[in-house]
């Protein structure tokens, strides 16, 4: 296999917490991302799922260096992203783009759609001349399902779904290899979500794009992604193909997540067994010792789970961070 497009090794992002009186001093750290390793191959779509606060968006931003990682390495196409500065970092960013969740907040309301999409063309010196830039912007609009004749309109004149198309066109403008999609459909109406999912799928196929697709909706991730990584409290707990994760999950958290995701089919909904987790996600300020999931885990064991951090290990062709993943007597799988 050729070298992966993106390789993330032991990524950590900690946010310092300050306390104390007159002279603030650091009293702790929110360990938002705490040792994440993953790879994205060329043309691959990797899903990153988890609940709010699990660190999935922070991971995406740290990969693009929109946030400075505390530790760890991000290698994009053989280059260490963390070591780059100034011009060389900017050059690399042309090849890594992002689509945001909120299509209302991520577009400059004072620029026309044409200017928004043309901005990366000018910034990276890809197309020169206003006319040529506008023409290119219109081509991109067309590819993203927007009518090119609206090139002079402003974001507020568009609906949520159309704005997300503008965000996608802008991300495509610099002809990237990797796009981090940070919850790109969760702010949209149901009938519009499918339009955007189909567009992203088509674009990936046509252009050989790779995505890191961040979402909390497991069904959407399953639909789009080749492989899926599941995060809990700053760490990956399971990573495998979409079928492995959704049809045969091995980590108790993945199992709970899969069983809790509603399926629009009353017969299935009423007959399937649901693992309802007790309690809430602990604070990342002071994550539990040992396995971070042990406070809510339905199959927690008296030994190991409390005091030994489970490593992400190979189990049946996928990676699982559970001491008992190989033991169907404990996990109830197999």
């Amino acid at each position: 296999m050729s070298a992966p497009l993106l390789q993330v090794r032991d990524l950590q992002v900690h946010f310092p917490v300050f306390g104390g009186g007159l002279l603030p001093r650091q009293t702790g750290a929110v360990r938002a991302v705490d040792g994440v390793s993953l790879t994205v191959q060329r043309g691959e779509i990797l899903g990153l799922v988890g609940e709010s606060g699990c660190g999935k968006s922070t991971t995406g931003r740290a990969i693009l260096r929109l946030l400075e990682p505390t530790a760890g390495q991000v290698v994009f196409d053989g280059e260490d992203v963390g070591a780059l500065q100034g011009e060389s970092l900017r050059k690399l960013r042309r090849r890594m783009q992002i689509i945001f969740q909120d299509p209302y907040a991520s577009l400059n309301p004072r620029l026309t759609v044409g200017d928004i999409i043309a901005e990366p063309l000018a910034t990276h010196g890809l197309v020169s001349g206003r006319d040529a830039q506008r023409r290119r912007a219109q081509e991109l609009m067309h590819q993203c399902g927007l009518d090119p004749k609206f090139v002079r309109r402003y974001p507020h004149e568009f609906s949520g779904g159309q704005r997300q198309r503008i965000g996608i066109a802008r991300a495509l403008a610099s002809d990237p290899d990797l796009i981090v999609c940070d919850e790109p459909i969760s702010a949209l109406d149901v009938s519009i979500q499918a339009q955007i999912l189909n567009l992203l799928q088509q674009l990936a196929k046509d252009r050989g794009l790779s995505y890191l697709f961040i979402a909390h909706d497991l069904a959407a991730v399953r639909h789009l992604c080749d492989r899926i990584a599941v995060m809990y409290l700053g760490r990956i707990v399971e990573l495998g193909t979409y079928a492995q994760i959704c049809d045969d999950p091995r980590h108790p958290y993945t199992r709970a997540l899969v069983s809790a995701a509603p399926v629009p089919d009353p017969e299935i909904e009423r007959t399937r067994r649901r693992v309802v987790l007790q309690g809430e996600v602990p604070s990342p300020l002071s994550p539990p010792p040992g396995c971070r999931f042990h406070t809510r885990c339905p199959v927690r064991q008296a030994s190991r789970c409390h005091d030994e951090v489970p490593a992400l290990r190979e189990v049946d062709d996928r990676q699982v961070a559970c001491h008992w993943a190989h033991d169907p007597d404990v996990t109830g799988t197999g």
Binding site: D189, V190, S191, L197, A219, R222, H223, L257, P262, V263
Partner: protein, 330 residues
């Protein structure tokens, strides 16, 4: 007469704006019985939330106006009830839960005070009793360590726990009717499962009638007994949950179901084309016709209801396919 807790008849809730009259709810009828959960499904702007707000007359007038219809609660029309009387129902016989728990919680008050207030107001019990009852209620909705938590402020609770507090408040007076507007939309799936289980338990054990407003078909499939699908201010299809999902009649319902990615299969998504219509410029005819793959000339007229009060759809194509002789089919 009937054993319906709630019966909505031809409800019309309009808004008078500078761009014209918006018929946010345009002739909606449904009923919910004791212990029954009705899912009211639709996308943003379909009128599902305004329908729910209308039931407690929480729509600001003006710009809103109840232009017609009746809302019978245990046989009494809430639309003509004197305000003072209705106030004794709100939070007492009829409770409401919103998407964002902080819309219902006062950040300055301890949880005990917020729940206690409801009890003192409607049940006339004293503070000490109300405090004890608040602890019981928190325990009932699954908040750990309720005796300590009851004296905390809302900001000390997580999102899922806050929604439980709101549910505890809603349950304080054992309401006959619970109006829940996207109660789990802001919550994570594992927490959503807990809250839905709680609401279902209530309907079963206390016999509360529930109107569950949501955009999530999966949620409806899991907990609702029957479903009404709204589009542009009208109910376009209704039925028992099993029939509606297995044999959807309206092209919009079919479109919605085909556009939702599913966890159990990986089929192609067929999105509903286009966008929801602008309600200020909505004229005669079926509001869905511009997006409908089955639209024909008849759809320029407002569709009549096809079916019964329990099961049916507002669609000309349904009536045509039912009436057409086999020989006329291709």
């Amino acid at each position: 007469m009937s054993d319906h807790v709630l019966q909505v008849e031809d409800l019309q809730t309009h808004f008078h704006t500078e761009h014209g009259v918006v018929k946010a709810v345009d002739g909606v009828s449904f009923e919910v019985g004791r212990g029954e959960i009705m899912g009211l499904v639709g996308e943003s702007g379909s009128g599902k939330s305004v329908t729910n707000l209308s039931i407690l007359r929480l729509v600001p007038t003006p710009p809103g106006r109840f232009a017609g219809g009746r809302i019978l609660f245990q046989g009494e029309d809430l639309l003509t009830l004197p305000e003072a009387r209705l106030r004794t129902y709100r939070g007492n016989r009829i409770a409401m839960i919103f998407q964002d728990p902080m819309t219902s919680l006062n950040p300055y008050l301890r949880v005990s005070r917020q729940i206690g207030e409801v009890l003192e107001l409607h049940k006339g019990i004293d503070r000490a009793q109300a405090h004890r009852r608040s602890i019981e209620l928190l325990e009932m909705v699954g908040i750990p360590d309720p005796a300590r938590r009851v004296d905390q402020y809302p900001h000390e609770f997580s999102g899922g726990m806050r929604q439980r507090v709101v549910i505890a408040m809603a349950l304080a007076c054992e309401p006959e009717l619970l109006l829940a507007d996207e109660p789990t939309t802001a919550l994570d799936v594992t927490i959503q499962a807990q809250i839905l289980e709680l609401i279902q338990g209530l309907a079963k054990e206390l016999g509360t009638a529930v109107v569950l407003v949501t955009h999530d078909l999966g949620v409806v499939a899991g907990v609702a007994d029957k479903v009404a699908v709204m589009y542009a201010g009208r109910i376009v299809e209704r039925g028992p949950v099993g029939a509606l999902f297995s044999r959807p009649m309206h092209p919009y319902t079919r479109g919605l179901l085909a556009s939702v990615p599913r966890l159990d299969t990986r089929g192609r998504l067929v999105p509903v084309r286009g966008m929801p219509p602008d309600l200020t410029t909505l004229g005669e005819g079926c509001a869905f016709r511009d997006r409908c793959p089955e639209a024909f000339d008849r759809c320029g007229q407002t569709p009549l209801w096809y079916g019964t009060r329990q099961r049916g759809a507002a669609c000309w194509a349904q009536q045509r396919s039912a009436l057409t002789m086999p020989a006329e089919l291709d």
